[in-house]
């Protein structure tokens, strides 16, 4: 039995003084509530200048010439830099992952060189003493464009007659993949019933409250670059800035302080941000780029623009036999660096139908380039689509067979005792709880009562709908997600934890905080493992100079992976502390424990406080044996080894009312039962579910990036792009099932994305449940009033 295992045995998450499982408030929330956050745009550095970009007004255009002279003479202008000049100091990047076989994308530069390929692509950088002056000058830069035909229709993207975006490729194909168990055709042929549908998902975007911002500070004297970046993966950015700007990586420091919302938007490589770093390099002074809302809409990654054809075969009893999907998605003109624009499609292929026990599956995915804004990972990547498709098809089959949707799911969800289990798409599930979650959900919803109420109200002409969704969610990814494909994105994470001179605990972790509570739960874990009060634990995140090399926060990995590293580091530190205690108290470490910040002989109050112990170690080493050296700083790393991903699962429910005259959908209530393994902080998990669900509601009912036939984004304002607001949102009931993962001691899975993944499916099912007796069906999102009325035939 290793020493680690010995210390682990002292760990008891259910002990009365354990913080794990408690809804403690967030220590860093007070500061934010007082307006004392520090977001990138709050930071001011000496001699700092601002950059604004001239952006392409065209979806596709050759840049014939740039005339900056008039603009360069305007007040406050420091420099005007073209894409060609930026290209001389920045190495291009290619957003391809090698394990997505055959994926291709040409090298991309931060600003357009020769050709602009989407409306909003940055073309010229204007640096000035104030943002306002930079914008004034940007208006005066003359750019001569020759408009080119644009590829704007994903369905036609591969036709030879369509404009080809990259001349070095034979078509606009970026990536294609097929999954096939081999028996789909036979299953479809022999099935009692095959249901078929085509579902469209509207392109939409993250709309973080804080727009993207970066403050790059290059110091030529020591060839160092500090970048204040509001992003999720500081180490990843460090590598990218260093490699693209040919700097030594250890001389690049990335600092992520307070981030005003990210949801995956701020995890990608944006040309305007890399260019700002390049400008700082060129000018040898701090350069700030703070996107305004208009450029956010034009250039923050979009997501979820998919058309999915689906077929489901069932037998007479309603057992699912085979599922087939054909997914088409139109991304931007490049695959985004470094995570690639193929992952969303790949997830859809991997995950559609995941909760169910059908054996045959065939999925084809096609990712095509378009002259629209770039597309990449946004909260719950692919899941909202995968889940909505499967859940829709399950409901369609259930309806045709006259089986209640809940009953249909009970029939077909993978049994809770069937694990480990491998899905037909090759996903390995360690241990999920689909039935336990569905049971709990139906109980919370009082499902039978809702159905009775629905029937009663229908007699009065009131159209209520009830929708369910069962979901799986990718969390705690192993290197199989990105690292294996050549991306320098860490799947492991680390924690350096120390007992400081005054007895406090300082834990530096490679995962990051954007408001979800990362710092809080790390403190909960460390405090629990070390037996101290949370108030004496300080957590450091978001600074590549201060924390161990890690991946940051994405794919719901912080709690499970970052948390495990913190736990293991804490236990290792505890072991070291007990060794010191044993020496000081003249006993053996196995006789000691740490309780309420005191090293004590087990079962007694005899001992000394951590503060006293630290004082001896740091200042009065003369009191220790000559051959004994206390080590009060410990680092541990952790990675997921046994599975590609540690899946979580759950079930969501939606109750709504459709006004069949106006098409308006009113959400009455929503429910979410999530199994994210061991819950560290129930309140924070609930709030992730709620926030995530509301983002899912956005995609399901409101949000849509609308392009015209010239590739112009028509609704690039907060007034025209409809983000959910308070008055239309329902209260959301959350509950948990806990199936701790055995891939770690902590047993925690991720929880940040499940809400967004499962909500659109439940909502679309609820709308269709409401409309079914009227013979109408919706198969597109967002489900706007017009979509509903067209389905009802009331508007043509």
């Amino acid at each position: 039995m290793s020493d680690f295992d010995e210390t682990t045995k002292t760990l008891n998450f259910d002990a009365p003084n354990s913080y794990v499982g408690r809804s403690v408030t967030r220590p860093n929330a007070r500061r934010l509530a007082q307006g004392r956050g520090q977001y990138v745009d709050d930071i001011v550095l000496p001699r700092m200048v601002h950059v604004a970009y001239v952006r392409s007004p065209h979806a596709h255009a050759r840049i014939l010439g740039i005339k900056p002279k008039k603009a360069a003479a305007m007040p406050g202008v420091v420099r005007i830099v073209t894409g060609a000049e930026i290209a001389m100091v920045v190495k291009p990047y290619v957003g391809v992952l090698t394990h997505l076989a055959g994926m291709r994308s040409p090298p991309q530069y931060p600003l357009a060189v020769d050709v602009a390929r989407w409306q909003g692509e940055p073309v010229v950088a204007v640096v000035a003493e104030s943002r306002a002056q930079a914008e004034d000058a940007a208006e005066a830069v003359e750019v001569d464009y020759e408009e080119l035909p644009a590829a704007l229709d994903a369905e036609r993207a591969l036709d030879p007659s369509e404009p080809k975006i990259h001349k070095e490729f034979d078509s606009n194909l970026c990536f294609t993949r097929t999954v096939d168990t081999g028996g789909v055709d036979a299953a479809m042929k022999s099935a009692h019933l095959v249901v078929e549908d085509t579902i469209h998902f509207g392109r939409h975007t993250g709309v973080t409250m804080e727009p993207r911002a970066v403050l790059a500070d290059y110091n030529r004297a020591d060839e160092s670059m500090t970048v204040y970046h509001c992003g999720q993966s500081p180490h990843m950015v460090q590598g990218i800035v260093a490699s693209r700007l040919s700097l030594d990586e250890h001389r690049v420091r990335i600092v992520a302080r307070d981030v005003g919302g990210s949801f995956g938007i701020k995890i990608h490589t944006y040309g305007d941000e890399i260019a700002a770093c390049a400008l700082s390099l060129m000018l040898n002074r701090p350069v700030k780029f703070a996107a305004d809302r208009y450029e956010s809409f034009l250039s923050d990654i979009h997501a979820r623009d998919h058309r999915v054809k689906a077929k489901l075969a069932v037998d007479r009893e309603g057992n699912m036999l085979a599922l087939e999907i054909d997914d088409l998605t139109g991304v931007g003109p490049y695959s985004m660096f470094p995570r690639s624009s193929g992952v969303e499609c790949n997830q859809i292929l991997n995950l559609t139908g995941g909760p169910y026990k059908h054996k045959e599956y065939r999925a084809k995915g096609t990712v095509v380039f378009q002259n629209k804004n770039m597309m990449c990972q946004y909260r719950a990547v692919g899941h909202p689509i995968a889940i909505a498709v499967a859940e829709h098809m399950v409901d369609q089959a259930a309806a045709k067979l006259g089986i209640d949707p809940a009953e249909m799911r009970r029939k077909n969800l993978i049994p809770d005792d069937a694990y480990p289990y491998k899905s037909p798409s090759g996903m390995r599930f360690e241990a999920l709880s689909h039935h336990a979650c569905m049971d709990k959900l139906l109980e919370l919803m009082d499902y039978d009562q809702l159905r009775r109420g629905q029937a009663d109200l229908r007699k009065k002409g009131v159209c209520r709908g009830i929708g369910l969704s069962s979901f799986i969610e990718v969390t705690n990814p192993s290197p199989m997600f990105y690292g294996v494909g050549g991306a320098r994105i860490a799947a492991q994470d680390g924690c350096t934890i120390k007992l400081d001179a005054n007895g406090s605990i300082i834990a530096a972790t490679g995962v990051t905080e954007q408001g979800q509570g990362t710092e809080t739960i790390m403190a909960q874990i460390a405090a629990t493992a070390l037996g101290v009060e949370m108030s004496c634990v300080k957590v450091l995140t978001g600074d590549t100079d201060k924390v161990p090399y890690g991946g940051g926060t994405w794919a719901s990995r912080a709690a499970g992976i970052g948390g495990e590293a913190v736990l293991q580091a804490s236990l290792a530190l505890k072991k070291n502390i007990l060794e010191v205690g044993a020496v000081i108290l003249k006993t053996s470490a196995s006789e000691l424990d740490i309780v309420d910040g005191k090293v004590v002989k087990k079962g007694t109050e005899q001992g000394l406080t951590l503060a006293e112990l630290a004082r001896i170690c740091y200042y009065r080493g003369n009191e220790l044996p000559v051959d004994f050296q206390p080590e009060l700083v410990v680092t541990r790393h952790y990675r997921v080894k046994d599975y590609a991903f540690v899946f979580s699962n759950g079930a969501q429910g939606c109750s709504l009312e459709v006004d069949t005259e106006t098409g308006f959908v009113k959400l009455l209530k929503m429910w979410c039962v999530d199994d994210c393994g061991r819950v560290i902080n129930p309140k924070l998990v609930d709030e992730q579910a709620r926030g995530g669900i509301v983002q899912g509601i956005g995609g399901a009912l409101y949000e849509h990036c609308l392009y015209d036939d010239r590739g112009q984004l028509l609704n690039a304002t907060m007034a025209d792009y409809l983000v959910p607001m308070a008055a239309e949102m329902p209260d959301i009931v959350c509950a948990h099932v806990q199936t701790p993962t055995k891939t770690s001691v902590l047993g925690a899975k991720g929880a940040g994305e499940a809400g967004t993944g499962g909500a659109p499916g439940a909502i679309m099912n609820a709308v269709n449940d409401a409309l079914r007796p009227l013979g109408a069906k919706v198969t597109q999102q967002p489900i706007t009033p017009e979509v509903v009325l067209r389905a009802l035939g009331k508007v043509r």
């Binding site: 809302r293 409101y702 607001m725 009033p785």
Partner: protein, 265 residues
């Protein structure tokens, strides 16, 4: 999205304001509440060289009730209308419309005059002015003139205001005894511009319904009865926009009219 450079002037009287508008002509724009104008500047779709801030002109404020009408000064903030007992008592249609206008922080600055002068076809107050047959009082170099609401709103962001003129007030005839008003709008989210809206007045003279969000200006439909109005809704020729096609808007106009006008019976 920083506003372009402009020269700022703050006249203390209507006369001073008119003099500035006369001097700078097309280079000048009037700044009242700013809730519509400042976004235009921030988006740089408007770039006036001179901004004439009329917010401190005391003569433009105030709600006054006389024996025959209610006079609303152009600079009256939306919130004042919202909180005014006189408006609730004498012009309940406006009181009903106010909570639909944007949000509290916008209503604290936005002005009645600004809303009318902008003439957004989806705006509530121009529709109310038209429904209640208000008279808009306009000041110019040559003095004051009065324009009936039906002549004031001329099209998309187009009014009877000539260059150099300033809207200074609106006068609403006191509703006849026994008259009723009804207001409703459909918007995707509370406070959004209406997809379709109806501001209606019913009296012994008949029913007067004004539809907004359906065209380039608020549209009046009058008839003796509610059913009479409803039968004419098909004559509206709405234009589609980002959120609703033309056929959708027409359909919604019918549905909304049916629901709102019921309150007049």
């Amino acid at each position: 999205m920083k506003a372009p450079r402009f020269a700022y002037a703050r006249p203390a009287s209507v006369a001073e304001a008119l003099a500035l508008l006369d001097k700078h002509k097309d280079d000048a724009r009037v700044l009242a509440g700013g809730q519509s104008l400042v976004p235009m500047l921030n988006f740089r779709v408007a770039a006036p060289k001179v901004l004439v801030d009329i917010n401190r002109i005391a003569a433009l404020s105030g709600i006054k009730v006389t024996k025959s009408h209610v006079r609303i000064g152009a600079l009256t903030r939306h919130v004042e209308l919202e909180r005014s007992p006189e408006i609730a008592k004498h012009l309940p249609l406006i009181a009903a419309a106010m909570p639909h206008i944007a949000h509290p922080a916008i209503r604290n600055r936005g002005t009645f005059g600004g809303s009318c002068a902008l003439a957004d076809p989806a705006a509530e107050l121009p529709a109310c002015a038209l429904a209640l047959e208000a008279t808009l009082v306009v000041a110019g170099k040559k003095g004051e003139r009065r324009v009936a609401a039906k002549d004031f709103f001329q099209g998309l962001y187009a009014t009877a205001l000539k260059p150099g003129e300033l809207l200074i007030a609106a006068e609403f005839p006191l509703p006849k005894p026994g008259s009723k008003s009804a207001f409703g709008e459909l918007a995707r989210r509370h406070g959004d511009y209406a997809m379709v809206g109806v501001a209606a007045l019913g009296s012994n003279r008949g029913v007067r319904a004004v539809f907004f969000g359906v065209g380039d200006r608020p549209e009046v439909i009058e008839a003796d009865t509610v059913d009479g109005v409803l039968s004419k809704v098909g004559a509206l020729a709405p234009r589609g926009d980002l959120h609703a096609s033309a056929t959708m808007k027409l359909h919604l106009a019918r549905v909304l009219a049916g629901r709102v006008l019921k309150e007049l019976t």
